[in-house]
Symmetry: C2
Subunit: 297 residues, 2 copies
């Protein structure tokens, strides 16, 4: 019977080279030489069977890609470059080595295009469902990290793409907006940014709360994805899907000025001194409640 | 009903100060300024219900402490200082906020004595069992990281304390040997080191394989913990428990010379040019098979 150390030995043979890495996966800890002129950004994101994917439907390759892409999307939200990642996997007993390898190849498939080195991990089996956790290290690489807290009143609010209906499949296959984030941050004064993971209505509130501003979102400017239109017969309109669905992983950002036309930026609203998030409709302003995703405790 | 954001807001109020941290938990990623003269060490370790703890028996405080201590023990194994950590928790649906807080307080209780800042996390609920994952960042802080691969033939093998029977309780309450590791590494030329998490017989093999040496372990020098003696009626001798049980989290290390007597180091064997791990008994040398812990795939 094969075991975790066969898996670890196989992983060691897969590792991509990275200038940062002095000692890759295989010891108690990996060792990196961090560039002196770069800030280090760190975050963690997990995917769980039955919540973020369905192991009966989605391939291990797609599951691996998703958790890595969620972490890469956090790098996009800060306008940093991914540098390295570690992963922990809790495998249901009876999973075979091939399944574990496919998870890893999914991680790698998502990480490689962004030169993000997989430098460590932890593999365990249990009488439980599949859980996969990735921690990412990002580097500032010449751009000051963009937080959620820098928006000021009377700034413009943009998103990088159409929203809603990601459950039809895009939640497993989105492309993290790292290239777009870096281009936008280099071209204009971005004061705050977040990736839309919990839904526009909830994520815009994170920015407003942390920046101590309010916002007005123009209903007729929300870019509604075709998938949201497809879903409109489930009792919620396409607009509602665009406002509240999660896992689009487009970016929401604020800036005092216009964004150059060659960049993917759709103007959807303005920040206000008055707190609260409102939706400007043809019949007036209404509160835009946060209906996006929140884990209940 | 409370949710993950109530938990996140509570966590933000708990965070300890750290000179490294420019932006703590609460944004998409935390931001650190890494000292230019220090290497960055990174690793991840998870604990799973039914494998590393039993949620019906162990308190959330103890579970939080354990996963953090496992990660701190990896720092000990490299002789680095812990600097910062992030945590991901998959909570069974129905867990309340108090339970989540206790997990966090367990993490913090273990991390605080080593000035390890908790700088981020991910909280989710699912129809699954409790899983808790910590990623740790360590700093070299003036000592070159000690790997598993530096042992050479004819060096001395030491462990830092008695082994075996940790299942009786020490696996939940061990103290990571960071202070000891730093003192030993500062006092003598440590050529390789590992923490004993999978059992002496397996972890010594990791060192031998990665250093391309063999080892002879003297049966009569193995420090047998009282817990191993207590367990000797289960069909395995106290010695067998000391050789093969996991989760002691004492350190195993090699060095060419003796260790000053004021340091916790018990001499148990020597490295050899001939590959393989052997146990030297009163009736001759016998192979020491790796019977320690391995997750099966």
């Amino acid at each position: 019977m094969l075991g975790e150390f066969d898996f670890i030995n196989w992983i060691r043979a897969q590792q991509s080279k990275s200038d940062l890495v002095q000692l890759p996966a295989g010891d108690d800890l990996a060792v990196l030489k961090w560039p002196a002129d770069e800030l280090l950004l760190v975050g963690v994101d997990q995917v769980l069977d039955g919540v973020h994917f369905d192991s009966a439907v989605h391939s291990p390759r797609a599951i691996g890609r998703k958790v890595m892409n969620r972490n890469l999307s956090d790098c996009a939200a800060m306008a940093c470059l991914p540098a390295a990642a570690v992963a922990a996997v809790a495998l249901p007993k009876g999973s075979d080595l091939q399944y574990a390898r496919e998870l890893y190849l999914g991680l790698k498939e998502a990480a490689d295009p962004f030169n993000c080195a997989l430098i460590g991990g932890d593999t365990a089996t249990w009488n439980g469902k599949l859980a996969l956790t990735v921690t990412i290290l990002g580097r500032s690489a010449g751009i000051k990290p963009i937080t959620r807290s820098g928006a000021r009143p009377d700034q413009e609010i943009y998103v990088t793409g159409p929203l809603g209906g990601s459950i039809l499949g895009r939640h497993m296959s989105f492309v993290p907006r790292i290239t777009e984030a870096r281009a936008i941050a280099a071209a204009c004064a971005v004061t705050s940014m977040i990736d839309i993971s919990d839904g526009l209505s909830r994520d815009i509130r994170h920015v407003c709360d942390q920046s101590r501003v309010g916002a007005i979102v123009f209903e007729d400017r929300i870019p509604v994805h075709g998938d949201a239109v497809t879903l409109r017969h489930d009792g919620r309109s396409a607009l509602e899907h665009a406002l509240h669905d999660g896992e689009d992983h487009e970016l929401l950002f604020t800036t005092p000025g216009p964004v150059p036309a060659n960049l993917p930026a759709i103007h959807i609203g303005i920040t206000t001194e008055e707190p609260g998030v409102r939706l400007r409709t043809a019949s007036g302003d209404v509160p835009l409640d946060s209906k996006g995703w929140e884990h209940k405790l």
